[in-house]
């Protein structure tokens, strides 16, 4: 916990120093910018691929990411039911660049979503997955800098997101048949 707090202080120490840096952190940490960018990458991925096989792989990544996201959200909700961790600003003096979220700090919802999408795509397409990992890291770092999460919340989100993606893609193999059925049905409508 001491390391967690020390790391939080280093990151949060960046906030409040310069209005420009604060604005950049706010742009990166809000609920709309990077999360939408990540979903837009998924949207682009659906139509991408220079061959039918490459596109099919990308489309399986998108479908898997959607199911992994649902699973990750369920895990986060379950965690929140059994464990409530107050936000850093609740008991410490921090530089807060965002509103006061009232839900549990652990695990980070934003990190869970970001790393879940990144891991799901990485398992099918390393190039797009790498881009998504960068976006997820930026989002997570900005949330700590902005004062709404501890680094351990981010680590929790990373674990939950990655575990969900791994479970859906590597263990729930039966889903592959469903994905192929969905993709083949959409091909009839020229949407896949």
């Amino acid at each position: 916990m001491a390391i967690d707090w020390a790391l939080f202080q280093i990151a949060n120490g960046l906030a409040g120093r310069s209005p420009v840096l604060d604005r950049i952190i706010q742009v990166l940490m809000n609920d709309y910018a990077l999360t939408t960018a990540m979903v837009l990458v998924l949207f682009a991925l659906w139509f991408s691929g220079s061959s039918l096989e490459a596109r099919e792989r990308n489309q399986r990544a998108v479908l898997s990411a959607i199911v992994a996201l649902l699973l990750a959200n369920l895990i986060v909700k379950a965690c929140n039911l059994i464990f409530y961790r107050p936000r850093p600003f609740a008991y410490h003096e921090v530089t807060l660049l965002f509103y006061h979220p009232s839900d549990s700090s652990f695990p980070s919802n934003a990190a869970t979503v970001g790393f879940c999408i990144a891991a799901s795509v990485w398992l099918f397409n390393h190039k797009a997955g790498f881009l998504l990992y960068i976006l997820a890291c930026l989002l997570s770092l900005a949330r700590v800098c902005g004062g709404v999460h501890y680094p351990s919340d981010i680590l929790g989100g990373l674990l939950v997101g990655t575990f969900s993606a791994w479970l859906v893609i590597r263990k729930w193999r039966f889903l592959d048949r469903w994905w192929m059925a969905i993709i083949h049905w959409l091909r009839r409508w020229l949407l896949a």
Binding site: D31, A33, L40, N73, Y99, L190
Partner: protein, 347 residues
């Protein structure tokens, strides 16, 4: 449940995600040459598609983040609400893109067709009609070619090719196919009727008759030439032979609504199967036979066709033109040059 703490913020996000999704569709359309999703013609505008994509995304982001900045830093829609809004925007962007590209391309196409000055003569071909284009300054009977369009091909494209052929000294008869005459076996009567029309014309050398078909017209040309020995040379431009199952790839060839009609049209598949051009194509030898494909063709399955071609006689020649799709092939200058040169050698 959807509550939307701030309706203004939700509407702002809806517009932002709609414009961004439009931008992303332009990005992938430019990157993967998906004509059916591109607002700009990639053949003419190239990288401008990327600029348009960037413009849409940046405009959407600026409108939202500049207009709603203070609201953005306050509690807004929940994750499920954002997912719903994004889904709505993405679906809307896809629908708008498909409809707008269909309208744009129809207008672009109409403009190009109007630009052709047709100097042909209408002739009766069996129960239908055709347009005959004769070379100028004829001193002796000219070699002649029957041009058979595909079921959904643009007749204007073959008209351009016929003009070029007439300029090069060939008489060219473009058959006008209508839906009624395309059922099997009635369709088999069309080419013999056209050959009969040409062989009766004094301007035509009846010993030098060839046939050129595009798309399913190519299949019909192969089938007709396999039994009609009067035909001395056969050229099939992107004959279907083996059709690929429909997919998003069709949008590389045509706008969405047209592609959807194409994919749902069972009469094409039925006619292709009935013509059975793969089997009849083997009977054309030893007469010269040219197969011409575009490397970007997404309507036909080239791999089995090329395997089939490798087993055929040496009189069959296969040419593949890089960077050309199924429908572009007929109006591509290199395809016309190869075809005319080949006809000159063999007729």
């Amino acid at each position: 449940m959807l509550y939307f703490v701030s309706v203004k913020l939700a509407l702002g996000y809806l517009l932002f995600s709609f414009l961004s999704a439009l931008g992303i569709l332009q990005l992938v359309a430019t990157r993967y040459r998906l004509r059916g999703l591109a607002f700009l013609d990639h053949a003419q505008h190239g990288a401008k598609g990327y600029a348009l994509a960037a413009l849409l995304i940046v405009c959407g982001a600026l409108l939202f983040f500049a207009g709603e900045w203070h609201a953005i830093l306050t509690p807004g829609p929940a994750g499920s609400e954002l997912a719903f809004l994004f889904g709505l925007s993405a679906t809307g962007a896809l629908a708008v893109t498909c409809i707008v590209t269909s309208i744009i391309q129809e207008q672009r196409h109409g403009f190009l067709t109007q630009a052709i000055t047709d100097q042909g003569e209408t002739v009766t071909v069996g129960r239908g009609t055709g347009r005959l284009y004769l070379p100028h300054n004829l001193n002796a009977p000219a070699p002649a070619v029957v041009l058979v369009p595909g079921l959904n091909s643009n007749k204007g494209d073959l008209t351009i090719l016929a003009h070029q052929m007439a300029e090069e000294g060939f008489a060219a008869l473009v058959i006008c196919l209508d839906r009624g005459s395309c059922s099997y076996p009635e369709v088999l009567a069309i080419v013999p009727a056209a050959i009969s029309v040409l062989s009766k014309r004094p301007e035509v050398d009846e010993q030098r008759l060839g046939i050129v078909g595009h798309d399913l017209g190519g299949d019909l040309a192969i089938r007709a030439a396999s039994t009609d020995k009067q035909i001395k040379a056969v050229a099939a431009l992107a004959p279907v032979l083996v059709e690929v199952p429909p997919s998003l790839d069709l949008l590389r060839e045509m706008p969405y609504l047209e592609a959807l009609r194409w994919a749902q049209d069972r009469s094409r598949a039925n006619l292709r199967a009935a013509l059975h051009a793969l089997e009849y194509g083997g009977r054309i030898a030893p007469r010269p036979f040219l197969l011409l494909y575009g490397a970007e063709d997404r309507v036909v399955s080239r791999a089995p066709t090329e395997a089939w071609q490798a087993q055929q006689a040496a009189s069959m020649r296969l040419e593949v033109i890089e960077g050309v799709g199924h429908f572009d092939l007929v109006k591509h200058p290199l395809a016309a040059r190869i075809l005319i040169q080949w006809l000159r050698e063999h007729l």
